[in-house]
Symmetry: D2
Subunit: 346 residues, 4 copies
């Protein structure tokens, strides 16, 4: 019998992306979808791409109702709403992958400094930061998984192997990320209009993006001490994809091959990390629609300056794909199940 899955907040871009993946997942069945705005509307009228695949109607959120119909829940609602909703499912015994920021932080004070008062701080010890490449074993038993932000996913996968091995200086790490527009979600705001975004590029929230403390939390945990980083996100005119350019300094004069080997060894068993050979660099286009994180490496052997470039699809490995990967781990399914889809290129 298939696992019955519900999506709370199904009508954003992470919602439709969860559906694209879950509807091809052989072990689950999508049985409940909620949406304030589209309550009563069949989901394939909200997203015609789903026609012929799912006629479930969106409904208003009733935790009782949804709990009866589902075995597992994804919450794809904004932060704040998530911290009010997830505990109710948790108390009802449901396991949850939450795609908001509300269950990503170990330290409620950090959360509160960057977001707002946390009304479910008591559950933070129960929740696991859902980066499988880092916390797979904890995710397996987790009741609540705080699915990582899109930027942290791309940044951390590029940094962790070197941080863990103390191969890079922890001072002066710079993270320059370039994101497609779907990362801003489906909210109807001026800044997301086609003519505001198309044919332009800008930086935003320099030093102030809320994904910064998330990156620092995980790096610091791995390093065993506080690791402040500089993080600047940029918006570029495409639907999907985040390219992250990491500016690092090696602690010794390792050769390119040594750094490359480090990554290859570190990720050799990871199904969704692909290391590019020397001289090649990734392009978000080559991961689009897939759960891959592609990594390219360039070392200036004379002085140890190193640039690592990672490419992900922000809606897949940076959100819904990673969420399905987490679900697979939690439920004991093969980790790649439902995620075998190849990148769509061109």
């Amino acid at each position: 019998m298939k696992t019955r899955v519900g999506i709370i907040g199904a009508t954003g871009y992470t919602g439709v992306e969860l559906l694209r993946l879950l509807l091809r997942h052989p072990e689950v069945e999508v049985t409940a979808l909620t949406s304030q705005k589209y309550a009563g509307v069949p989901i394939d009228q909200v997203f015609p791409s789903l026609m012929n695949h799912l006629q479930v109607k969106c409904e208003e959120l009733s935790v009782d109702q949804i709990s009866k119909k589902t075995d597992f829940v994804f919450t794809a609602v904004p932060h704040k709403t998530a911290m009010e909703t997830v505990p109710l499912f948790y108390k009802g015994g449901k396991r949850v992958v939450d795609l908001s920021a509300d269950f990503r932080f170990k330290d409620a004070m950090v959360y509160e400094r960057w977001y707002q008062k946390h009304t479910s701080a008591d559950l933070l010890p129960e929740s696991v930061y859902g980066l499988p490449e880092l916390h797979r074993e904890k995710i397996r038993g987790a009741k609540i998984v705080g699915n990582p932000g899109c930027y942290p996913t791309g940044a951390l996968i590029g940094l962790i192997p070197l941080v863990q091995r103390e191969m890079i200086s922890l001072e002066g790490i710079i993270i320059d990320s370039k994101s497609g527009v779907s990362g801003a979600g489906r909210d109807v705001v001026l800044g997301s209009l086609f003519c505001e975004v198309n044919e332009g590029v800008k930086a935003y929230k320099i030093f102030e993006h809320r994904h910064l403390p998330e990156i620092e939390q995980e790096l610091s945990q791995q390093a065993g001490k506080k690791v402040p980083v500089t993080f600047v996100p940029h918006l570029i005119p495409m639907d999907r994809g985040i390219l992250t350019t990491l500016y690092l300094t090696l602690t010794k004069k390792w050769k390119t091959e040594e750094v490359l080997n480090t990554f290859q060894e570190h990720y050799q068993k990871e199904p969704f990390v692909r290391i590019y050979p020397k001289g090649k660099l990734p392009n978000t286009k080559e991961v689009r629609g897939s759960n891959y994180c592609d990594i390219g490496i360039k070392v200036n052997e004379a002085d140890g300056r190193t640039v690592i470039v990672t490419a992900i699809d922000n809606l897949v490995k940076g959100a819904s794909g990673e969420a399905v990967q987490n679900m697979n781990i939690m439920l004991g399914f093969p980790e790649t199940m439902g995620l075998e889809v190849l990148p769509l290129s061109p």
Copy 2:
């Protein structure tokens, strides 16, 4: 045992798209790839999107070599090359889906008027025009399938139900198509440069596009008489997708619902045709990456003027997806096998 498949001309956009689909097809194995330009190069170096999925090297075309390694062949080479290559596989007993124009025409003279001398005209009676919605039974037993052009696929699926039932006037049919740039292929030509195409739209080859006689052949066959049409293709700044707007006149004053019902009945068993409800119109974005042809219908009930709009992904339903669908029919696999991938939207 899996069917061993080869792709002749694997390094164009239809080639990589065939691979994206075939690598997820449970009953086939890709065992040979040819490319003049990339002979000796592993395919995942040509197309990094395929990394971790296939390391087969491209090789120069040797029909003997390829024939030993394969049970079934796709030819994705330019016309003219196709007419020289396909017969060799045919004589060796291989069944072939040819993605060029060389085996789409019943009448060699029509082909020669629009293309050039046909040196394998003797094989035209053996080949079947590979539009499954129209010729499924013949495709089943075909040795050679001439896979339809991208524009004809979108146009014919929108026209056939009405032509077969004599519901539209056969005079004055107008087909206005808007295509993404991948339809022009991966040839390195000035007109396909990003800065030549981006942020602009143009018509081209008015009255003169080579897909015109293909459309007329199939319509005429269904109508039992010559059906000339007006066809104007346009190039628009996106990777994939063809939207075709058909301007028609009903022969009687049918209501919208009647026309809608006609389409629903006609295509009710078709796995890849989706009819939009009254008042809704398709968008190529909602079929991207999938094998669907979406259809929207608008009737001016006062005077019978009717606009049918169809949306396909030119690389899938307009080329490689349709080719896989044809292979499935020819080899007795479920028709949707390897093609269940959902559209990627946004």
Copy 3:
């Protein structure tokens, strides 16, 4: 002394485009800008592109205040608002170019069928439809000019020469238009979000777009009888530009050159119409940012089927550029003044 100009509703895309042009116009000075949303905000904070050029603050609309500061007024507000605002300026003796639909129609009943009750129908006889290529002399003395819609501009310039000379059948005229997204304005609506529009194309409002009656009004006036047309607009992923493909039938078997000569003669004195030579077709990219309407012609000499393609920038010749052209005519300035800017390509 320069003419003092005000823009009512300055913070939409037609507003900023008016400013781009007027700020380079040697005979005018922009002295007043209104905006409900941005009252009190300097315009170069709303549109950073204008930095260093204009620091005028947006203000709430007070007809008295604006009238004191200006000699000439552009109203770039939505229809309905326009019909309430324009009469107040008119009564105060100001001449107005209105960019809404409210003063485009001769027949209030037509307006009311497609829009809503017209509360200033008494002023319709005073207003002139602002297509300079058609009504230059009337515009010269007009108190109110109803600036044409973007689609009608591109369609009418392609049709008028043939309609006036009775060279095309008036039955069965088909107008298939493809527009960039700025045509939808700067309203914050779901359908204008980048990820909803990018990498897709769709038709909309088939038979029902409000620019249809505007086209029919002008054609009928020229033809001396009712000319119904089929008009289907499409939305494509680019900022600016409308390509209009006109499907026509010649009343005699004129040759391509004859039709071409007709256009060249008809428009030889027009500063903003460019006729492409035989065999060439326009691209919206080649008019971007300019006030040109480019025209390409293709005749099927065997049977008289004819396709005319026109390309404009919807924000310039389709809106703000045409509005400035109208102002120039009304105020006796050289017609090209402020509009000499060349297209931006690529």
Copy 4:
């Protein structure tokens, strides 16, 4: 009498952009255009955007012929060709702005390390690096101006004020640039095809881009000592624009306002540099088509980390606009002449 101007290599993107600007310049007349590929073809057939503005035919390069027809020359040919061509004009007494890299370097050895043998090294002392904001006085009397690269222009304008005042550490300067596709020129290469570039982003030539030594030359000259920098360019899917994100560390804990004031003072007389107020950041869209360089500043006051963001149009301030600015300076015209065009946004 107008200055007669010739463009050597007129049919690339910098060529058409020079023409867009020069054709609106009141003091010059374009009298000669050369092109190997399009010799004999009127320029408005190569670039339809120029229709109605210029019918000059492209011709093959004959220095004698061109010299007779012109008073001033722009060379927009590839490096290597430039070093063979410019000396011939120089010897004939013509003043030249060269848009290639061949006359940008003071030290021939640096050039030769990054490019190839320099066959006109004797002229390097005669040539001036054409960044007006830095070398205006030398440009005034120069016989040859080496017009800066697009990336260096955006980087240097953001760095110079702080380097000259020793306000930033010269160690660890990081320059992360994002460029539109026109920066790659109009060469017909696979990597510039629409479908290769659209909907993707990549880094390229990390540590190895030829604009790196150009940046280092100018910074080192200002600093009075060698200033190595890290420079990583990226390609993003848009026609025009370079956003450069500079990662810097202040040498003292200046406040944001102090850094802002530094920029405002430094550039207060510069007609083409616009400093954004605190809290605002530039977008390439707001400079498109114009000669502006927009600058945004963000200081982390706690520790002195500073991010400067600059936005230019690579074809204008990054190439042809800067070239016209240089010509204006050399010929004693007002520096903004022909460059007053406002940005095209959206």
